[in-house]
């Protein structure tokens, strides 16, 4: 397989950046997910790696070879399109055979490779059908087969599951991840779905407004978001973020809430400074002796747990995960605590995370 390196790669349309200069190194066999809201530049980045889009600056290296200005066909990468891009006028067999026929491979080799790949994806029964008559999941399996059959150096996938319904998406997610591990295939995967990104990626590249916000493992981006955007974007719901003011080892939060700083944070901020306190719903616990309080605004039953919406004051609603057995009447005042190691702090001016010192 292959390593992919991006060096100061950028894309401009006129004066507007679609992707601001970005550096990224993708290791052999790694599954990288480009994650971000629509229009953040993730698909453009992927298309630049594939060669379908030209760069306006920087270098792309594939296995240490500069491929920046090579045509897509000269890069030895496969691309799986969001809407499959199957050839509608030929059947599934010929669709899968297309990349091999285009290379003028011998019929025996083509037959052999197709046999392997359809067994891998369990689509033997579809070979004589036309793409038009297939379900979304089957179309995506055929598109994967077409990408796999040529044994490329790397796979690029542009929201391959975006057009599928929720159930199928989960099945296909596991299938793709399992295939990728089995083949040890270097893969760059684009999605706007943070759950998909968390579930599949070895590392996640979070992008927004043409800029990379954070690169890290799913655990890193989840527990240690680099900035407010990542904190809000990852997780459903995202991290609770409440603005307050620091003084004397305590952060003053709305509604007369006083949050004493956990160990290690006191030196990270200065007196009188505005800070944003962040915590995940599951790191807050309802506790009659809790230091924080608020009014129950709504409760959602999620089966194994209750999600409480608690209004601390004004419109500062935070989400807490509570046990499913206890009932919390709307309007009730409750007290809660934040798991000390799980509290995070951000600078509201530059939106960056503060570091423990």
């Amino acid at each position: 397989m292959a390593t992919i390196q991006l060096k100061q790669v950028e894309k401009k349309f006129g004066d507007a950046y679609a992707v601001k200069p970005l550096d990224m190194t993708i290791a052999d066999g790694e599954f990288i997910v480009l994650l971000g809201p629509s229009g953040c530049g993730k698909t453009t980045t992927l298309r630049m790696i594939s060669g379908l889009e030209t760069v306006t600056g920087g270098q792309i290296l594939l296995n240490d070879k500069n491929v920046t200005w090579l045509h897509p066909s000269a890069r030895d990468i496969a691309f799986v399109f969001q809407f499959y891009a199957l050839y509608p006028h030929i059947n599934v067999h010929d669709n899968i055979a297309f990349p091999l026929q285009a290379q003028g491979e011998k019929k025996e080799l083509i037959d052999e490779r197709i046999k392997q790949v359809v067994e891998l994806l369990r689509i033997q029964h579809l070979l004589n059908k036309r793409p038009g008559g297939l379900s979304g999941g089957d179309k995506q399996r055929v598109a994967l087969a077409r990408a796999l059959v040529r044994r490329p150096a790397a796979f690029l996938m542009d929201e391959p599951l975006g057009a599928l319904d929720a159930d199928l998406r989960e099945t296909m997610r596991a299938e793709i991840r399992q295939l990728q591990l089995r083949l040890n295939a270097t893969t760059v995967y684009v999605t706007h779905d943070q759950i998909e990104a968390m579930a599949m990626g070895d590392r996640i590249v979070v992008m927004n407004t043409a800029v990379v916000q954070q690169v890290g493992t799913p655990t890193e981006v989840y527990y240690n978001p680099a900035n407010l955007f990542v904190a809000k974007f990852i997780g459903s719901p995202g991290m609770n973020l409440v603005q307050g003011q620091f003084a004397d080892g305590v952060v003053q939060l709305p509604g007369e809430n006083r949050y004493p700083l956990p160990d290690g944070w006191k030196n990270a901020m200065t007196r009188g400074e505005n800070v944003v306190v962040g915590f995940r719903p599951e790191s807050a616990h309802v506790n009659p002796e809790g230091k924080l309080h608020g009014e129950v605004y709504a409760t959602d039953m999620h089966g194994s747990y209750n999600m409480l919406h608690v209004n601390m004051a004004g419109d500062n609603v935070v989400h807490l995960r509570a046990d499913r057995a206890t009932r919390y009447p709307i309007g009730a005042n409750i007290r809660f605590d934040i798991d000390p190691p799980m509290a995070r702090f951000f600078n509201p001016q530059n939106e960056m995370a503060l570091r423990r010192q």
């Binding site: 897509p72 399109f81 891009a85």
Partner: protein, 319 residues
Amino acid sequence: MATATVESSVTKSRVQPQSAQRQLSDRAIMNLFIWPTLLLLIAFNFFPLFYSLYLSFTNYRATATTAPVWLGIENYANILTSPDLWQAFTTSGKYVLFSVALQTIIGFALAMLVRGKFRGSGLITTLILIPMMLSPVVVGLFWKLMYNPNFGYFNYLIGMGQEGSLDMIASRMFNQPVPNLALAAVILVDVWMWSPFVMLLVLSGLNAIPDYLYEAAAIDRASSWFQFWHITLPQVKPLLLIAVLFRTIEALKSFDLVMGMTGGGPGNQTELVAVYLYRVAFLGQFRSGYASALAYIILIIVIAISNLYIRNLNRAKGA
């Protein structure tokens, strides 16, 4: 539908008591629209169609004062055994084959050329389409002038400028008769005139091919040549077949262009079936019964060929 009917009957029952006389029923309005059209169709389409079918079995002459006499299938038998007819069909066959084949290739090539958007592509496309918009008789007469061996510039352009060396219309070169030269001259003009039509249909087919297919093909490492044969051509095929079907039917019936240029000559070298039919029906003998039978034979052949195409087209589409 159901609601519309209910509403209209409600309106009617409310309105009728006051002005029953002035209201036309829906049915009357329907009849007023349909019958004039139907009568025109019957008078000018159905009647001639069936009357000519009847005449094709008689010895009727439009110039004679005697009533038609029933001959049975004699006209058909005579036509099908007449060498003149087979000669005309051979000429038509060559004409259809070469002009449709050339139009298809040139039309396709033109469509590929103007496909991409470039400066002035709209203007160039419009210019290319002009021949198609002209009247065939006018085109024929103009080209006759252009082919003129003494002052036409066609000879000059192909480097046969010296006087009398080439006469396309008379099918002669260096004063020697060259067979098929006049036919080639007519085919050339037909190709000039109708390649744009093929281009137009192919162009709309090309524009309907989604870009992602070419992106997928680029990723699949297909060369431009491979992309053309495996994506462009199959995707355009249904529209291309329609263009070929139209052109074949038109070429089989081709009449006005030939009449404008050669009148079927020299001799009968450019006498296509329609021109032959015209000669039998309206020149000299006015053998209307015989000509009707001939017209029916041509009609059946055109229908048969069209059906072959349409079957092929449906296969290409249903695929």
